[in-house]
Symmetry: C2
């Protein structure tokens, strides 16, 4: 029996223990964007570092101005450093931080008390904040390493782990960390587990990522909240101003109206576009799962373009005035919104920010001032469609799932992957086991037990393939 | 020395005790719109009833489906019932409930811990939620009665008190209560203390009130919150839909665009318009006090029309998606807004509600549903400009303030006053001592000590004048 088969058997036999470890991590409330959870984030980092040490990694916390980065290095001996024997030195990237949990009242159980549930179609799922994004996904790789270590006493190739704690708030401090330690992390290949499958049975390799600009817009009119009976009709209302600005962001065709927004956006080559069309993603299939019917994006684009290869502008949040129960006849002093843009091609985040600020300022009446906040800029990223490592990964995924992996563009951003290429000159391979119905960033986030189990097995096969 | 002069002296001498009683009432958190404060509302009602009993009223609580109404009847003996001796039987109306206090972090001191403060210009003020609206104002009338009772052993005319607890949430249950007990409350004249002075030195009698329609609009798109990286650009965003609807409520000239909205709105007669123009209310004077410069209403109207005689549409609150600190790349399932309309002339609240619902529904895309909530409808009200009781009130106010009272229209609504006329066939005289800078419904609400003190004296003079 080959090492790999013994490793896969061990993974099957140890699944319950793997779940226990994942549950322990899921119980830690590591919400990175909210300062109130700072110590929980550190606790999650300590947990991951200790777990890596338990399987022979030389692991610890590296402090940043934000939450710490967990760095672990496999101690396979000097022989494995570098790419001796053709085995590349892998940098694995994941994150231990999670999104906020509000609105809490929409969760059917407490978000940090993970449990196994069963869907109507019989699928077993792990329910908790972070079950998928990214604790569940990151642990698939760590558990694959553990199985190797337990069976063979070592890993098939050298691995450096970088598990960060600020992905959900833009990875702000990780950029500087990677730049400052470029020599340490400039390895042979990065593996990233934070993306999705094509569907429940079809694995996917993600070859492009949209970029992100995330802005906060705060408007102020009067110097205090006013009584709408006294001042209504005469005093400028910041919610009205904000609504007008946000309503102007898209035209009737669904295109973003900010001047210069589409600079750097290229149309897809005809063959790639044909490949996308061949996937035949229908609105029923993609939007039907969340109760929707009609694509809301640019009217002249396919749905799959809207979610992977076209830039977008979305309003992620808005608040102003009285929002409690019942009525309050207030004319508020302030209103604010969070607006984010997904970028593709060569769109320049700095220019988008500048153009957006001008767009807002051009629409401000005299009695209204604006303050902007930025929560991270990331350029879009296009990775290789073809390389020896990619082909090995494809073969390993096919062996596990019985179906050829689809190569897709992802709608979301993983900010640091761009820097792995531009700063470290290192390619990344993004393989993940999320499904579209995982409710990532939403109440009742889940991860299929099958994704977790076969995800671990997939990484074991990929490590084996890459070491060959 | 006449009774009146002794009464006025007693008011001056007892001011500190009057303030102690007001402070005790201000400490009760009687927020009527929030069910969490139900028992506090009852406590405030019990406090007022006990206070009325202490000055000889036969007073108690009358239960409704909402918060109770305090009813008190002066026991001046049968001789005073009806209008014997020409002294009218007065119905005094006020309310013991207050507005919510959020945003709490903008208060410079706890809203239910009243205190005396001094403004930069030397004015002494009472600071607390309800200091003005309406606990402070209602107590000016009660303290005037107390002084009469203490000095003369009785009131100069018979008084029935109706102090309700739901004015700040639309007086929903008071309408039925007044209808069901019409015989009991159909008296000679209603006095209402819930309006403002013209300025710090000029008293005002309010002869018209705008009506109100207050609506809640909740939009739902997907059946759960989504990740904007996965679904952004493809799934309908309810904040975007809501912004477009709210932005469409006004045209570039500041007019409300809902079809039929202006039905029943008449232009002012030329002489009344000239009177308003003669008041010469400037933007600097009215908006300058809250940090604004430019009237935001209909471009072809005077500022004083915008705030008193023209109808309006205001957005009182909006919420959707992520509104906490930092970033969350959510594409929300829901967004909602509170929208209110001030009505004038013969605008029909039911028709406005219907037209508004149609306006919203006409703008909903396929993947968006709406739920409406209503927090009260009230027609606008025009009272007499001239009557013997009004003239006596004007004389009394001039004697106290040394300046002729201005007759004005009020921007806000007091829902029940319309029913006093239409159901009970009874005129109302609205006199109040609020100032434009009282921050009514806002953080740091205040009432000038001078308003409180001279307000009590004003009512003593008015009671004397009406009894003559």
């Amino acid at each position: 029996m080959s090492d790999l088969n013994v490793v896969l058997d061990r993974i099957d036999a140890d699944l319950d223990k793997s779940l226990d470890r994942l549950f322990a991590l899921l119980r830690i409330q590591s919400i990175s964007t909210d300062p109130a959870y700072k110590k929980h984030c550190r606790e999650a980092a300590e947990f991951v570092a200790a777990d890596l040490r338990s399987i022979g990694f030389d692991a610890g916390l590296r402090d940043t101005e934000g939450h710490p980065v967990v760095v672990g290095k496999s101690s396979n001996g000097a022989g494995f450093q570098g790419s001796k024997n053709g085995a590349p030195h892998i940098l694995f990237y994941g994150h231990y931080d999670v999104q906020p949990v509000d609105p809490l009242d929409l969760w059917s159980a407490p978000p940090f008390e993970p449990k196994i549930d069963t869907l109507a179609d019989g699928r077993k799922i792990i329910v908790a904040r972070g079950a998928c994004d990214d604790k569940g996904q990151a642990m698939t790789f760590i558990e694959a390493c553990r199985a190797y270590k337990n069976v063979t006493g070592k890993l098939p190739l050298p691995v450096t782990m970088m598990i960060e704690g600020e992905e959900e708030c833009g990875s702000k401090n990780l950029f500087g960390f990677v730049r400052d330690n470029a020599a340490e992390f400039k390895l042979d290949l990065a593996l990233v587990c934070d993306t999705a499958m094509w569907d429940q049975n079809t694995p996917a390799i993600t070859s492009s990522l949209r970029g992100l600009v995330y802005e906060d817009v705060k408007l102020t009119c009067a110097d205090r909240d006013l009584h709408s009976g006294s001042f209504g009709g005469a005093a400028q209302n910041p919610i009205r101003v904000l609504s007008k600005i946000l309503a102007a962001l898209h035209d009737d065709q669904g295109r973003v109206t900010i001047p210069g927004f589409y600079d750097g956006v290229r149309d897809l080559p005809a063959d790639i576009k044909a490949d996308l069309a061949a996937l035949n993603l229908t609105a029923e299939q993609f939007l039907g799962q969340v109760g929707l019917k009609v694509p809301a994006g640019e009217k002249d684009r396919m749905l799959i373009e809207m979610i992977t290869t076209r830039p977008t502008a979305e309003i992620n949040g808005i608040i102003g005035g009285y929002t409690g129960e019942g009525a309050k006849t207030v004319l508020p002093a302030k209103a604010s919104a969070k607006v984010s843009f997904r970028l593709v091609g060569d769109q320049d985040p700095d220019k988008i920010v500048e153009a957006f600020h001008k767009f807002v300022r051009d629409r401000l009446p005299v009695d209204c001032t604006v303050e902007f906040g930025n929560f991270g800029n990331a350029r879009a990223l296009q990775l290789a469609f073809d390389s020896p490592a990619l082909n090995k990964t494809r073969s390993a995924l096919k062996a596990e799932w019985g179906k050829t992996a689809v190569t897709v563009g992802a709608g979301g951003s993983i900010p640091i992957v761009g820097d792995f290429k531009s700063v470290l000159g290192m390619d990344s391979i993004m393989v993940g086991f999320a499904l579209d119905d995982d409710r990532v960033h939403s109440p009742n986030e889940k991860f299929d037990l099958k994704s977790f189990h076969k995800g671990i097995r997939s990484w074991a096969r990929i490590l084996d393939a890459l070491s060959a």
